[in-house]
């Protein structure tokens, strides 16, 4: 396994990069060499109209890779590194396509002055959408370099070969020139137009090989810089006066007691009242002395009543899939299973809360933010401060976990506002309580499923609804003649429906929908007296899913048995971000306490081309482990617009003693395009564990998370 660190620049202190970088300056910054300009169309799929309008980068200067005179290849990407490893996998893709050593690729990530426009690091888009476009740029650069080498060595291109950035004549190895030499003294700017020929998988030397994380050395020594680690001369720590409940409007703020603490400064700007101090402890001490009044929003809903609330408030329904005739399907049925599945609100709770440092020099604001979306952060600041794109630079250092929650970054706007108002460098670092309060939560959800089976164990009809949690992953996947899928209130930020801001949470919607579908399948299999895997295979036509399930069964060592078998085995499968995924879990249930211990989990994935099998394993393990949380414990407690859960004492995320043995199969699909890897496995965790609990005990727990109380309640009904 390779483990060397590829170089990376993202230090904020380099003064020469603080200035406004225009096209000419950028070329000067690169200092000659060969620049490949391309438009990553795939990566721009997610461009929304307003973002396109505000995107101030010239259209012909959108994305780049650069080969310097010393042969270093720099890859500029608007993607960011929050733990999921694009810093490694993108460098692998670049190095392989360009035929340079992996260690020679330098990644510049998430800097709005240096990197191409990007919609954000979410939805597993880094490898599957940006990656292939980047490979095209690398292939184009390779063609340019071959052409230059051909001219210099006076050898036809077809007679040349490349090895780690060195070009030589196949017939006469003494005729040789390096990429660095070819780039020397040149300023070549090449625009990618067509589709250059990419390497076939049989030619890969780096793609598909396991590479360890490029950033570990920085992260184990404490050298890795996150937004909160940015130190600016004269920087002040800000704390903002916060409302007691969601949507509350600030009426007054008496800061007189707080101001008695020496050195406290107060900033007021409409709805923003902030205290500043050079010392974090002092501003923390001062903020609790502010006496503020608010006009609160009342809404009659709690975590206990949210599902009834949904049924009352959900207005709009969309039929997103309708095939055959449900009534006809019912007539064919020997048995009908009807279920309701519930999920609570869940927080992202990355260990790093939302943080931003900001400074202003002249009229240019620079912000370092723990964000998944550098360009959307820039747009938000432009809009709030009414300034143009060239007056804002957003830099994303390492991000301490995102999971979808750092697509929304009010802290960055707050920092930009305060630095503009005061002219001083500031740090806005949310407390854990602020993080829980302002998190854009995964919505609670309700799934209603009605389905039938004929006497041969075939599914006759499938009527599936999802309320207020999003329709991602609600596909039937099974071969059913009569099927309908209805989505109610598609997770919009409607204050009538959701008392809090909601947003994407790792594979948004899919964990709820996959749990409901797969648990229903488990119950149907039990009703027919069939093994749940055999029941699936009987009702699937999708060859990809059949292969994934069979490879999983082999890995897990699964043998068929009618459920509940007492073994505690559970299965779930589904699709997410174009990846086909299945999980098997083994659990032990303590019938006295209701405690669930997950003993082992296996996962199989058809994700197309797997760029970094090592990174993929880390993502699968991460999904499995994180997925234990929404399945077993994570649920936010609230009363109306008041969030009660505000820290890790009451919000239980997975701990060491919970973690099962984890293994995985990554199916070899190197000839196909890469699909998503960061999210798929998590969608199966709820369904796999719930069905394992059923298999162990016969108890059906319909409500996530499956707390001991809910397990005990379900056991009573067995």
């Amino acid at each position: 396994m390779k483990g060397k660190t590829n170089k990376r620049i993202m230090e904020p202190s380099s003064s020469k990069r603080r200035s406004v970088l225009q096209r000419r300056d950028f070329l000067k910054y690169l200092g000659g060499g060969i620049l490949i300009v391309f438009t990553p169309l795939g990566a721009c799929k997610n461009i929304s109209e307003p973002a396109q309008v505000s995107n101030a980068l010239p259209a012909d200067f959108n994305a780049f890779l650069h080969i310097s005179q010393d042969g270093t290849v720099t890859c500029f990407t608007g993607k960011i590194e929050m733990g999921q490893g694009p810093i490694t996998a993108l460098a692998q893709m670049m190095a392989d396509e360009l035929d340079v050593a992996y260690e020679n690729v330098k990644m510049v990530m998430g800097d709005t002055d240096l990197c191409p426009w990007d919609g954000g690091t979410w939805g597993s888009t880094s490898i599957r959408e940006f990656g292939p476009e980047m490979r095209k740029a690398a292939a184009e650069a390779r063609e340019v370099l071959l052409q230059l080498a051909s001219e210099q060595l006076k050898v036809p291109v077809t007679q040349l070969e490349i090895n780690e950035g060195v070009v030589n004549d196949k017939n006469d190895k003494s005729k040789t020139v390096t990429y660095g030499d070819l780039a020397k003294g040149k300023k070549i700017e090449k625009h990618l137009t067509g589709s250059p020929k990419l390497k076939s998988s049989s030619e890969f030397k780096i793609i598909g090989k396991p590479y360890k994380r490029a950033d570990s050395i920085l992260k184990v020594t404490g050298e890795a810089k996150y937004s909160g680690d940015i130190k600016l001369p004269g920087m002040l720590f800000a704390r903002i006066v916060r409302p007691p409940s969601y949507g509350a409007k600030l009426l007054s703020a008496d800061t007189s007691e707080a101001e008695k603490i020496a050195g406290i400064q107060v900033v007021r700007d409409n709805d923003l009242v902030a205290l500043l101090h050079e010392n974090r402890d002092k501003v923390d001490e001062a903020i609790v002395k502010v006496k503020a009044t608010f006009e609160e929003v009342k809404i009659d809903v709690t975590d206990k009543t949210v599902i009834d609330h949904y049924l009352k408030t959900a207005k709009k329904s969309d039929i997103i899939n309708n095939k055959g005739d449900i009534a006809a399907g019912e007539k064919l049925s020997e048995k009908i299973v009807e279920s309701e599945f519930y999920d609570g609100y869940v927080a992202h709770s990355p260990i790093e809360p939302h943080t931003a440092a900001a400074m202003i020099e002249g009229d240019k604001i620079t912000v370092w933010a723990s964000a998944q979306t550098p360009f959307l952060v820039r747009d938000a600041i432009m809009e709030k401060l009414n300034i143009t794109a060239d007056k804002v630079r957003v830099i994303i250092p390492f991000v301490g976990g995102g999971f979808g929650g750092k697509g929304d970054n009010p802290q960055a706007v707050e920092a930009a506002r305060i630095t503009k108002l005061t002219g001083k460098p500031v740090m806005v670092a949310w407390t854990r309580e602020e993080e829980f309060f302002y998190d854009t939560l995964r919505p609670a959800g309700l799934n209603r499923v009605r389905s039938g089976i004929d006497k041969d164990g075939r599914i006759t009809f499938w009527d599936f609804s999802v309320y207020c949690a999003g329709d991602r992953g609600s596909d039937t996947i099974y071969d059913v003649p009569h099927q309908k899928t209805t989505a109610y209130d598609q997770g919009e930020n409607d204050p009538q429906v959701h008392p809090f801001a909601i947003g994407p949470w790792r594979a948004p919607g899919n964990s709820n929908n996959t749990h409901a579908r797969e648990m229903q399948i488990c119950l149907m299999a039990a009703k027919t007296g069939m093994d749940p895997l055999e029941f699936r295979l009987k009702n699937l036509k999708d060859e990809k899913m059949i292969t994934v399930l069979k490879s999983l069964a082999e890995k897990f060592g699964y043998t068929p048995a009618k459920g509940p078998s007492g073994r505690g085995y559970g299965i779930a499968c589904g699709t997410d971000v174009d990846t086909w995924v299945a999980v098997m879990a083994e659990v032990k249930v303590d019938k006295k306490t209701g405690h669930i211990q997950v003993v082992r989990v296996s996962c199989s994935q058809d994700m197309g081309m797997c760029v970094n099998p090592q990174g993929t394993l880390l993502q699968i393990e991460g999904c499995v482990t994180m997925g234990l949380g929404y399945t077993l414990t994570e649920e936010l407690i609230f009363e109306g617009t008041k969030m009660i859960t505000r820290n890790f004492d009451t919000y239980e995320i997975p701990r060491f003693s919970w973690v099962p043995e984890i293994d995985a199969v990554i199916l070899d699909r190197m000839d196909q395009p890469p699909h998503g890897g960061g999210e798929p496995a998590i969608i199966c965790m709820g369904g796999a564990i719930a069905s394992a609990v059923f298999d162990a005990t016969g108890a059906v727990v319909y409500h996530m998370p499956m707390t001991p109380e809910r397990v005990l309640e379900a056991l009573k009904k067995v």
Partner: protein
């Protein structure tokens, strides 16, 4: 209010004139500029702020700096000796025992203190010893393996 507090920080004798009620975490980060120690929850629940004080893993976010007078404090920046990484740091790299890396310094400091006290921990003892350090990315399986590797390496005398 301001007092002179003397202690040893990463092997160096240090004096600081400071309000002793200030939190060790923010003093380490802002006064000394050692930003490897992280704020995660501010209440001692998550362990991202873990440092080693006189061989004990301690949560620096709830500790007044006045309490460390005369003591030895080690942060993640002080763990490597003479340019060589501590076996726990090495093992974290070898096992890829991290993702976002934000909990990593606290994990490593907690593990290093654990191995000082118990150089031959069983897997169960590692799990119990690490239980209150939180990781959201789900690197747990690899962290346990890394600590097992580090324990073996320490036993072999490779410090």
């Amino acid at each position: 209010m301001v007092q002179k507090i003397s202690f040893v920080l990463n092997g160096k004798k240090t004096n600081v004139e400071i309000d002793p009620a200030q939190t060790l975490l923010w003093v380490i980060r802002n006064h000394f500029g050692l930003t490897g120690t992280k704020y995660g929850c501010g209440t001692g629940f998550c362990g991202a702020c873990t440092v080693i004080i006189d061989n004990e893993a301690v949560r620096s976010c709830t500790l007044p700096v006045g309490d460390i007078a005369g003591k030895k404090v080690m942060t993640i920046e002080g763990l490597a000796k003479n340019g060589e990484l501590h076996p726990v740091q090495k093992a974290f790299i070898d096992h890829d025992a991290l993702q976002c890396g934000f909990c990593t310094p606290g994990m490593i400091m907690n593990a290093a203190a654990l191995l000082t006290k118990n150089p031959k921990p069983s897997k169960q003892e590692i799990i119990e010893g690490m239980e209150d350090n939180l990781c959201r990315c789900g690197a747990h399986v690899r962290i346990i393996q890394a600590i097992e590797t580090a324990a073996t390496s320490l036993k072999g005398g490779k410090k």
